[in-house]
């Protein structure tokens, strides 16, 4: 069972690492997100993508673009434990007690790490990535196999082995766990030259209208965001900034860029129906702007459904949460004009029709530097926000 657990663990950790490494080319790729090993990567993998972009997926993310994915440590550990499990399986009753005991001890460590990651997934990310769950199950199989080995120790005579071997095996386990990570760290390309190659704002100040201001509690860095409150990627980006502790360091100029053809002429059909109305609610937020925006992100699934059901359903949802005054403002022509000014600002600056977008000063932060490379990009472009 342990051998099977290790091989499965290796497989799932390989998929996870492969997906991570593939994104080092700064492109957007489909990713593996299935309980079935070998299933082709897919674009419908939001939970796995969210896990991959999260601050918990990698170490040293400030010094290395994307950091060192923790799946690399799993690769090394499963390789060692797989070899050890194979040895115990072949040796059976001839395996020394100290070896069986050692394996029972270290065989549960992947499960402990899995439990920790599972807790983080549920409590911080709010969803489970299937590939990660594959690793959790593999760890469980490995742990069950390792611990069940202890029950074979009753009776029978087994060869004696010095306890010093435990030290040797621990050193070997440590070494093999680090090897893939070390190779990865030594091979990753330097992304610094690419950080500032995604364009600049042609016209940094709005000539008509004004952006929405959201000032973090310890704001130090001016930044401009183009966001759509019904865009899942914007929500994930916002959550990432909060999780990373970055958002409170930002003095945000928010430009609403709803991907909804009801107000956005740059689209032929709505990508996020109802986003124009929700954007106007954000514009009408006044001193509650951040609360309205975060409400829209928190209730995004419900609001998206309401948006598809029709404008009145959405307006009712806004009224129920924020009251009649805010809804009146949403319906006011001045708010239409304000939203239109935000869209024209986007068009005057020829920005890509996508959300979210982040500008530090006039410099556009590349899309890939707002997800996997976020901490690395901030460390290089605005290090003070990480302090």
């Amino acid at each position: 069972m342990s051998v099977v657990g290790c091989l499965l663990g290796l497989l799932f950790a390989s998929y996870s690492t492969m997906d991570y490494a593939e994104h080092l080319d700064r492109g957007l790729h489909d990713i593996h997100c299935s309980f079935i090993p070998g299933k082709a990567p897919t674009s419908e993998a939001e939970a796995c993508r969210a896990a991959m972009y999260s601050p918990y997926s990698a170490l040293f993310r400030e010094s290395m673009w994307g950091g060192v994915p923790i799946s690399l440590f799993a690769l090394g550990a499963f390789a060692f434990l797989g070899g050890f499990a194979l040895y115990l399986w072949l040796a059976r009753e001839r395996a020394p007690k100290v070896a069986v005991g050692f394996f029972a001890g270290v065989g549960i460590t992947p499960l402990l790490v899995s439990l920790l990651m599972l807790t983080i997934s549920v409590s911080k990310l709010g969803h489970l990535c299937k590939t990660c769950v594959g690793i959790y199950i593999s760890s469980f199989l490995l742990a069950v196999g390792a611990v069940s080995g202890l029950f074979t120790l009753k009776g029978g005579v087994r060869p004696a082995l010095s306890v010093l071997f435990v030290v040797l095996w621990l050193m070997a386990l440590g070494g093999t766990t680090l090897v893939p990570a070390a190779v990865y760290a030594a091979s990753v390309p330097d992304q610094s030259p690419y950080l500032s190659k995604c364009g600049t704002l042609k016209q940094p100040k709005m000539t008509a209208g004004a952006p929405v201001k959201i000032r973090g509690s310890r704001a130090i860095q001016p930044v401009m965001f183009f966001e759509d409150p019904l865009c899942p990627t914007c929500r994930a980006f916002h959550e990432r900034l909060l999780d990373e502790g970055v958002f409170e360091r930002l003095d945000v100029d928010l430009l609403l860029f709803p991907l909804d053809s009801e107000c956005n002429w740059m689209l032929e059909s709505p990508i996020h129906p109802g986003a124009c109305i929700v954007s106007k609610a954000v514009l009408c937020g006044g001193d509650r702007t951040r609360a309205v925006l975060e409400w829209a992100y928190d209730e995004q699934v419900y609001l998206t459904r309401a948006g598809k059901a029709g404008a009145n359903v959405l307006r009712a949802a806004i009224k129920q949460k924020w009251g009649d005054e805010l809804l009146k403002c949403v319906d006011d022509r001045k708010t239409d004009v304000q939203l239109n000014q935000h869209l024209h600002f986007a068009s005057d600056n020829s920005i890509p029709v996508s959300t979210p977008q982040m500008f530090l000063g006039t410099k556009r932060v590349c899309d890939e530097d707002t997800d996997m490379g976020l901490r690395f990009a901030l460390k290089n472009l605005a290090p003070e926000v990480l302090q």
Partner: protein, 228 residues
Amino acid sequence: MAGLIGAGGGVVLLLAATLGVKSWVGSAKDRLEHPAETKAKVAIADQAEVAYCTPRFKEVLERVLHSCGLAQDETRRGCKPADVKTFASISDADFNELFTPLKDRGAVILFDEGMQDLDEGAKKLLEDKWFQRKGARYFFVVARASKSGNQAKNRALSHRRANSVMFDLTSVANDPEIDKKVGLLWLGNEFAQLSKDYCSWPTSRPNEKCDEEAINRSAFVSWVDCRL
């Protein structure tokens, strides 16, 4: 023996994993340094461009824009009839035909005979049209005068009507860059007069009798959804 096989198995697994890592990172590095030439095109935010923006329409508008003061840093504003005739290089009928697709997007502001003042209906309609900007960059005002009176008087009258519209827009728009958005043309009674058919267009006096005289005591206003 079992120990050797186990150790060998572990080494093989580790080697396979490490070589895999090396290869995945290597290919990503290669793609990063030598990107594929055919990258998917990303749409870029821009002004609206709708079906009526034919090359001919855009050509005329562009000439008008450049010749009537909307081009950057020009102090001269507006186009008088002779300018339009010269720069548009287009017959009266063809000129009017170009604006036909704007029937629903725009409106005709009507004036009293010999007057340039906007009544309440005109102000409301003008404001409504101004705030329905959507993705347009330019707002056109084409003022006219009817046949009554001499050419010079009508030229001046249509000029005053165009200015009336501009003054009103300036007060409602609260836009410091309004000069770069509004294109003023005044045609007097000498170029591109409207036929009675234009009485069916949205006007500021929908309940009043409309004939060829009345429809030319006007200013046609509309946003133009073309990238110029």
